[in-house]
Structure formats: structure tokens, C-alpha cells
Symmetry: C2
Subunit: 444 residues, 2 copies
């Protein structure tokens, strides 16, 4: 298959000049977090459907010691001397990571994805992976990143940091539409721009909660082939969701059009700040040399964080080794927990706003089978001021969908997160939410 051409040796980007597009880059992650933290702080008794953080209940402080120890023992079993083990833990490590082999094994065991360890780069969470990939792929003034919109603010934040032009591709209520993506690609091409990549969370998306069906996945891969762009697949929720997930885009990627972004924040623990990127694309540099995209990403990483914490990599590797690479097994209990919480949330919503009532009000929501989020659609206009009202007068906090829209949109959407709540909080929170919605609709 054709190699893709990318920046050679992280070439300079003197060409950067995209004033017309910068207005459309959304606010960074922290602005949203700060606003919501502030509201939460001012209203301590409010029940919050805002935080997307994993439930702490499954963590046990001693686990981290056990996991690090397990990885060090593993190094010794592999023939590492006491000095080798000490050096692996304490010394500067390889830029691309210590545990890429263990990660590649885990992808084979759990994700039907068979990639060489050399195509894996261990990163400081998926966030750093996004930054590295954008810096490598955006090589000219006409390059554009397409994002499914609403979308995760981490990718638009990374794009903003690097002054990368972003074009939102509206996601439909029932999720991704290949036709809409193709329309956006054609529009960019017609404007003389090059869509270089499309960022999407195919499974239980943050923020919408939608999942891309099997057919849509094949259509997306086909579009990427036909229009020569890469798909940036980010899927942090699939292994903490009930049931058997659909195959990743990467596992169906025969033409090497998918760059898979991995995060261990939901499946192992966020504090480790360990993620990875699978970039097995052959790339041609300006001199015509061919190598792996992963090599370019490692080069860029050396200028961002040098390498990922060896101690954190040891903790994650220990967790993976303890489950023979099977994150699904490691997260069986968590997946069941989140699944039950989500079903309870949907049950409570239906109880508070039954079909005929919500139809009368013009209120609806999607029904994700997993993940941390769902979308509530309302007839009234939603903004940050309304979050404050909701917290103050109804004791319930949520995230306006506008925060996840590069450019405009989402003014009638609310993101509800269930990951951090107990069944009791879900029940009471949903009651408050229903009262808030009824009141807003009555005021229309």
C-alpha cells in the first residue's frame, strides 16, 4: 500500500497561517473542568452528572505496589540482572517506551490486533499521543483535522496548542454517518484543503455515548482508503463496558489507515498517566526514506516528555501481566458496575419522564449500552448560566453539550455522566434532573 508522506525530522511549519479557521477551535479541557469544578464547589450538596472520571471504588492502594513488583519480577524472569532491573526502573528509558512488547501482546490477547511492538509508542496518557500524532501528520498549510462533533475536548485542545485547523463533522443523533463525513471531506478538497485525519471515539463516545455500528466502521475504513486520510481511533471505554465490544477499527484495518490511540486511565488507573499509540504506517520522509510513523512520533515525544515514567509503565505492565494481557478480564467487575449504573440511569429517566410525557415536552435521550455518558436532548437553550441555575435551584449539575462542539452547536444538548455515581445518587439525581427539565420546559 502507498506510504503516507509526513514531516521529515519534524520539519518547521513556517507556513502556518490559518486565521480564518482559528475562531472555530474550542476551549481547552481545563476551561470546562474549571467551570464545572467551580459550580460543584459552590454547590456541595448538588448531585453531579458532570465528572467523567472512573469510579474509585475498585482501586486499592496496595495494588500499585503489587503491580510494580510483578513487573520487576517479570524483568528478572526474563533474565534481567539486579542491575538491569534497577536501571529499567530508575534510569532514563527508551523514548518509545519500556513496555511496548507487553502492550502489543495485550492487543493480540484482547483486541484481535496484531501489530509489531515497534509500532507502539508509550505516551503520557492518550493526550500526549494526540499531540504527537497531530504534530507529525499536519505538514502543510492546507492540512485539516476532521473531528466527529460533538467531540472530546482533548483532541481540539491538542489541535489548538499546535495551531491545527479543525473541521467538525456533525454526528447525528444515532451516531456517525459516513455520508456526512464524505460530504465534509469533499467540501475541504473543494476548498483546496487536505483532510489528513479524522478523529473519532467509535465505542460509547465521549460526549455523546453513541457507538458506531459494524457497517459504519467498514464505511469509514473505506472512505479513509478512498480519500487517503488516517483515522485516529480513540476508544477508552470499550473494555469498561458490559458485553463483547465490536471489533476496533484498527483490528479491521487492512490498508493501515488507522492510528489507534490507547489509554489505561479507565482500564488500569488515571494517576499512572500511561497511554499509547499504535502507528504501524510506513511513512516516507522528504529524503524518500521509509520508516514507521511510530518512529516519527517517538522523535517528537523526545521534545515533549523525553520518555514516559518508568515507574508508571511498571505499574501498568504489572496490571497487564497479572491478567495475561486481558484488560477485559481485569475490568470484568468494573464493566458490570458501569453497565448496571447506566441501566439504572435509563430506568430512572424513563420512570421520571415516561414516553408520552417526554414526547409532550420534546425531551429525549439516547440509550448507550456502555461507556460513561449519555446525551439528553431538550427543547430549551442550554448554556453555562443554566448549569448554575440547575445547581442552585434544583441541586443537580451536568455538562452543556456546547463545551464539546468545535465552533457552534449543542445548544439543546446535555451530557450526563454516570461513571462516578452510586445507585442512590442516580435515583435522587434523576428526580432532580426531571424537575429541572419540567421547569425549563414550562418556562418556554
Amino acid at each position: 500500500m502507498p506510504g503516507i508522506t509526513i514531516a521529515s525530522d519534524i520539519g518547521s511549519r513556517d507556513w502556518l497561517d490559518r486565521a480564518e479557521l482559528h475562531g472555530s477551535v474550542s476551549d481547552p479541557l481545563l476551561d470546562t473542568m474549571n467551570f464545572l469544578n467551580e459550580v460543584t464547589h459552590r454547590h456541595p450538596d448538588a448531585i453531579s452528572f458532570a465528572p467523567g472520571r472512573p469510579y474509585d471504588g475498585f482501586f486499592d492502594t496496595e495494588q500499585v505496589f503489587t503491580c510494580v513488583r510483578r513487573y520487576l519480577d517479570h524483568l528478572a524472569e526474563q533474565g534481567g540482572s539486579t542491575e538491569d532491573v534497577r536501571t529499567a526502573l530508575y534510569q532514563y528509558g527508551p523514548t518509545a517506551g519500556l513496555i511496548r512488547g507487553i502492550i502489543a501482546d495485550s492487543l493480540r490477547a484482547d483486541e484481535d490486533t496484531d501489530v509489531p511492538a515497534e509500532s507502539v509508542v508509550v505516551t503520557v496518557g492518550a493526550q500526549e499521543a494526540m499531540l504527537l500524532v497531530l504534530r507529525a501528520l499536519i505538514t502543510g498549510p492546507d492540512d485539516v483535522l476532521l473531528v466527529s462533533s460533538p467531540c472530546y475536548v482533548g483532541i481540539t485542545g491538542a489541535a489548538r496548542l499546535l495551531d491545527v485547523a479543525v473541521r467538525p463533522v456533525p454526528e447525528r443523533e444515532d451516531g456517525f454517518s459516513a455520508a456526512d463525513l464524505e460530504t465534509a471531506v469533499l467540501a475541504e478538497l473543494a476548498n483546496g484543503r487536505r483532510p489528513k485525519a479524522f478523529y473519532v471515539v467509535p465505542d460509547h463516545s465521549n460526549p455523546s455515548g453513541n457507538t458506531m455500528g459494524p457497517e459504519a466502521r467498514e464505511e469509514l475504513l473505506d472512505l479513509a482508503r478512498r480519500y487517503d486520510f488516517l483515522v485516529l481511533e480513540d476508544s477508552p471505554y470499550r473494555q469498561v463496558s458490559p458485553g463483547t465490544p465490536l471489533p476496533t477499527l484498527k483490528s479491521r484495518d487492512r490498508a493501515r489507515r488507522v492510528v489507534h490511540l490507547g489509554s489505561y486511565s479507565k482500564t488500569v488507573f488515571p494517576g499512572a498517566r500511561v497511554g499509547f499509540v499504535v502507528a504501524d504506517q510506513r511513512v516516507r520522509d522528504a529524503e524518500g526514506g521509509e520508516h514507521l510513523l511510530a518512529d516519527e512520533l517517538a522523535k517528537i515525544k523526545s521534545m515533549v516528555t523525553v520518555n514516559t515514567s518508568s515507574l508508571s509503565q511498571a505499574a501498568v505492565a504489572g496490571a497487564l501481566l497479572g491478567a495475561r494481557g486481558r484488560l477485559s478480564q481485569l475490568n470484568a467487575e468494573a464493566a458490570a458496575h458501569y453497565g448496571a449504573t447506566l441501566r439504572e440511569m435509563l430506568r430512572q429517566l424513563d420512570a421520571r419522564l415516561p414516553a408520552d410525557r417526554r414526547e409532550a415536552l420534546g425531551v429525549r435521550w439516547n440509550e448507550p449500552t456502555g461507556g460513561f455518558f449519555l446525551t439528553l436532548r431538550v427543547p430549551f437553550r442550554v448554556d453555562d448560566a443554566l448549569v448554575t441555575t440547575s445547581a442552585q435551584d434544583f441541586g443537580v449539575i451536568w455538562t452543556p453539550m456546547t463545551h464539546f462542539h468545535p465552533g457552534t452547536g449543542g445548544h439543546h444538548g446535555i451530557r450526563l455522566s454516570i461513571s462516578y455515581l452510586t445507585p442512590a445518587e442516580i435515583e435522587e439525581g434523576t428526580a432532580r434532573l426531571a424537575r429541572f427539565v419540567e421547569a425549563q420546559c414550562a418556562a418556554l
Copy 2:
């Protein structure tokens, strides 16, 4: 004092267009490392004065468990419940860091530097700190970063990643010259550009080994005040060097012109990937609001790595707590070791190339009192090809100073690192080095 104006909300940089300057940005860290690793790999018996990594001998694998445990116990002693401690370790942490208070305490205990914890941002090594600071400070098309040249490749790498214009300020054989810096500042101003910051390693610099004297430090602070630029102070070697270090620039910084970049890679361990930045400058955003530069840096960090590994922060905090914040005390043995190794290196060089002999050859070197590096100056031209010759025919490896020069320069300089070698290796390596130098001079 006057606030400095910086990008508000990480504003876009549509203005980027500095083709004329990009030729002058040096190759990134990894290119240098890869080249030297390759030579080292091909010549396993060669003695290498190349690696700047700390000596492993002081590390003990069990220490990391003790340190993490100590920090967790500290949290409990501070009144943290079992759940609080678990959350601190496992959950997403504050973007600016968990341990900023412990770092601020350590700066008071060890560096006569009294800054509020709020002005500290914990980073993934000093490398991420450099990236954050450059992204925040370079706010217009005419902004320039000045660097003492030769300089550490991490800063020029970060500048390259962000397309920041770099102007080298040649360092003299005896080190920093305020007059040369002022000349460079005036030249930039005359060209309509704004020198926004000057990057320097004042103590036992990497790569030169030079240290800035007390008078030069005051002159630098005075220049920064007069010409309204910030000084980026990076000083990773001072606490692993013998004797009492000179006061940091930050500790003498009455006008808040110094941003102090901190690294625990030499003083605790590199694998932790924990550094920090002290940015207590008041900044005005475009809306005229005032806050700390540290807040802007945290915002940018949320788009790079979200937060620094809590596990790594715990390990570093545990080490600091164990020494009551005194890195100097923690590193007493290491400082003595590196000091002795450096003195042995200078003794051996003097023995192999006595004063009259080296004068006849036109060879000389500086005599650092600490740090990991010294500069050898030779009459013949030095390049990568010569490293290969040196490894092959003389069994000794070193780093051409050209690698540390943004733009051109350093063709007669060799960086010698002593940090990773034993006295026996120093003795034999120096003998080989002398033979290499003699042969090259003879061939002139």
C-alpha cells in the same frame, strides 16, 4: 512591578511565519542520542564520554517502594482518609500537580527561594516545562527566544516543535557574557523583533561545564529588567555537585524576571520523569485580567499531558520528605562521587597532556568544579565522522560540540561527560582520548 503580557487562553498563533529563522534550529535530542547510541552499539569495547545520564550505583530498587509509601503515610498524617489517599494515588490529579507544596518547601529549605505553592507547576521532567513556557511566552510573530550557545538540545527541540524563533548568544570559553547578551538583544530589537526570554544553565552547564559567576548573575538579572525579557533558568546539576552552589538566579530575582525550570532526574531519579517550573510572574491576559503565569502553564499542560503521574510524584515527594526537603543532603554522596570523578578526569587529562604539551598542540579544556561535563578544545575540525574514527581506531567515544550549537559553531569543541564512568574507565578512557588527540593533531 509591571505584569508581562502573554497569550490569553492559549490564543492561536496564526501569525507564525518565520522561514528565515527556521534554518537555524538545531536537530532534536533524539537525533544526537540515536547517533551516539549507534556508534556505542557498533563499538561495545569503546569507553564513552558521551552519555549524560546519572550514575546508577546510587539507586536501589527498594527505595522507590519506600518513597511512595512515605508520601502516602504523609497524606494520612495530614488527615487524609484511606479513600483520600487512594484517590490521590489512582485518580486524575490536579493539572498543576499534587506535590507543589512539598516542592515549594524544598526550594525554601535548599535554595533560599520563597515562592507560593501556587506558582509551581509539576511537569513531566523539565522538558515538558520548557514546552509549556515557550508556548505561553511566544505570543507574536516577532518574538524570539535567546539561548546561550552551545546549549542543551531540549530547549531548541521544544522551540522547534513549536516553531519558535531561536537566536543563539555565543558563550565565551570562560562562560556567559552579559555584554554579548546585550548585543544580541539590541540586534534583535533593531530588527524589529522582541527577545521574550533567554534560556541558560547557570551552574555547570550542559554542554560546556561552565558556571556563571556572582557578578554575571546580577548583570543578567539587570539586563532582563532593563530590556523586559524573562530568564529561563535550568539548573539540574547544582545539587549533585560538590561544595556550596552559588545562589540560583531565582533566589536573587527581585523583579520576577526569572522562570525557574526544575528537574528531579539527577537529584532523585530520571525514570520518575518529574520536573517543575516556578512561574510567579503576574501576567495580564488580553482582557486585562491578572493572574500567575503558572496558571497559564497549567492550562497548556492540560493539552499536553493532562497531569503528571501521581505515582511518580509520590515517589519524588517521598524522597523529598525523607530528606526534609534537602536535595543537597539527599545527594551528598552523589555530589562527592561526581566531584571526585571530575577531579580525576582533570588529573588524568593533565597527566596525558601536560601544560607544555597541550600548548604545543593547541589543545585546552575548561576546569569545571562540578556537574557532568567539560569542554575539550582542539585545533582540528570535529564532526560525527570523527566520532566514528575515534571509536573505531582509538576505542573512545565523545560528543561533537556541534550538536549543541543552534545554527553553526562548535567545530573545534568536544563535550566530555564523566557522570557514567568509573575511575578505572576515566584513566583508560583519557589515555585513549590523548592518543586520539595526538594523532589528529599530527595529521594537521
